[in-house]
Amino acid sequence: MLTTTNLRAWLDCLHGRLVQEKDQLNALDTAIGDADHGSNLLRGFQKVQEKLHDNDPPDIPALCKLVGMTLISTVGGASGPLYGTFFLEVGKSIAAGSTAVAPESFATALAAGLRGIQRLGKAELGDKTMVDALSPAIDALLANQSPATAAQAARAGLAATIPLVARKGRASYLGERSRGHADPGAASAALLFDCLATATPSS
């Protein structure tokens, strides 16, 4: 079972990793974008921490909604609405009042989150976006694999973005010149699953 406490640990981990890896994400975004992806996400998840300091959402859907709304209203850029929508949709897929969910339900909820991202951003697998890391990781969870395995799948997805030509987002302006660089959004998505593995009980 995944509890509200696990999810808060997930968010704590993510915040910590973003503090550490902000510059690295910015550097990835410098190569094929505008050098702000790390700063954007840190600003958002920092605000999430502040909100959670003052608020104690009663259940998982409320927690996810708080995260989603906070990201949308503080991140900006492409990643703000995308990750924000992700958390909003995850929250909507979990029954109101739940303070714990089974891993399978959580995997289903994450899949709904990914659909939200794709509805909004119209990216397909292989377009060199966060979708390329999120999608294989969520597939792993849907196939009942462990969060650690999902995290590995996300890393593999991230690595697979390197040879691709970007077709969505700012990197797409570079055309062929976007080849040879990892996608920053895929890198932050990999962090998301690293932290999910850290924060959830190894079943």
Binding site: D23, N26, A27, T30, I32, G33, D34, A35, D36, S39, N40, R43, I72, S73, T74, V75, G76, G77, A78, S79, G80, P81, L82, L120, G121, R167, K168, G169, R170, A171, S172, Y173, L174, G175, R177
Partner: protein, 336 residues
């Protein structure tokens, strides 16, 4: 990275405070959420114009807030689009009952955030239209990409739509004019130096003493190709050639020629490029009836130039000439 800043994370907040102090009669700066608005907004019965985008492009957009142009501007962090709640709050604050036109540059971040804001505005029963600006011929337009970037045409659309709104045009009309201007405008830019986002602290790319980035955007992203430095006349021609090829500019067309500095370009150089551009335009039989030369849509400390050519329509001349009073563009009956 050398810049006149205090803490990188406070750059936008402090610059906005500075703007509020510098233009007390013209505009107000709201902080929670962050936007600038005309001091006399909302204007009853006038379509309200709201734009916005990442900071670092000054004077765009905040410098175009004022009578005859924008009612509000929403600045995001440096090179980061604003958030929906900023856009919603700005639109609500300046809506004068005739609806709100959102002027959005075609970048995924801007598009998504303005789209979410538009949904919130619809939920709040505020009539809203969006003009998407995508005039940059450096980028291949395709169904399978993010499409062309919005660059120099933004300034022209904000001026022309601003005047149309001031003249009492309806929301549908102002939006239509904005889309027509966008469709008639093409742009292309190049950089002599990278820029440095103060939050990243590193130049956006490295360029040799004899290299330039060609087909550059306005966020420090590398351009389409790296080419050797050449004479101003040659580079101007290289910028204008794809522009002229992309739209059926015809001999006899009346155009507005906009030569834009990217932030660190001496005015002296802009005039040299302007001279070269007029010659090329005239060789193509174009009649330059209006012009704008200066640094209006910048990329922080980037040296370089972008050219926008707008095929003018008769009624746009009047909108262009109409009075405007903003920090960055200001004239009475005719521009100077």
């Amino acid at each position: 990275m050398k810049a006149l800043v205090n803490a990188p994370e406070n750059v936008v907040a402090e610059a906005l405070e500075g703007m509020a102090l510098a233009y007390p009669e013209l505009l107000h700066v709201e902080t929670e959420p962050r936007f600038l608005r005309r001091s006399d907004a909302p204007r009853r019965g006038k379509v309200a114009l709201v734009s916005g985008g990442g900071s670092g492009h000054e004077p765009l957009h905040g410098g175009f807030v004022g009578s005859g142009m924008l009612d509000a501007a929403c600045p995001g962090e440096v090179f980061t689009s604003p958030t929906p709640d900023q856009i919603l709050a700005a639109a609500q604050a300046v809506n004068g009952g005739a609806g709100v036109l959102l002027i959005v540059k075609n970048y995924t971040g801007d598009v998504l955030n303005f789209q979410l804001a538009a949904e919130l505005l619809a939920a709040a029963d505020i009539p809203t239209e969006t003009v998407l600006v995508d005039d940059d011929v450096a980028v291949t337009d395709s169904l399978y990409t993010a499409g062309r970037r919005g660059v120099g045409a933004t300034v022209l659309i904000e001026k022309i739509c601003g005047a149309a709104a001031e003249a009492g045009k309806s929301l549908a009309d102002v939006a239509r004019i904005g889309r027509e201007v966008n469709a008639a405008a093409r742009s292309m830019g190049l950089a002599l130096t990278p820029c440095t986002n103060p939050q990243a602290g590193q130049p956006s790319f490295q360029l040799g003493e004899q290299e330039i980035e060609f087909g550059i955007g306005i966020h420090g992203e590398p351009g389409r190709s790296r080419i050797p430095l050449a004479k101003a006349d040659t580079l101007t021609e290289m910028l204008l050639t794809p522009i002229l090829a992309d739209l059926p500019f015809r001999s006899g067309d009346t155009v507005l020629l906009f030569v834009d500095g990217l932030g660190a370009t001496p005015l002296l150089e802009l005039y040299i490029v302007y001279r070269a551009a007029t010659r090329i335009a005239e060789q193509h039989g174009l009649r330059i009836s209006r012009r704008l030369v200066g640094s209006y849509m910048t990329s922080l400390d980037m040296a370089g130039v972008a050219i926008t050519l707008l095929r003018m329509q008769e009624d746009w001349l009047g909108y262009w000439d109409a009075p405007v009073r903003t920090p960055a563009l200001s004239w009475g009956a005719t521009p100077c």
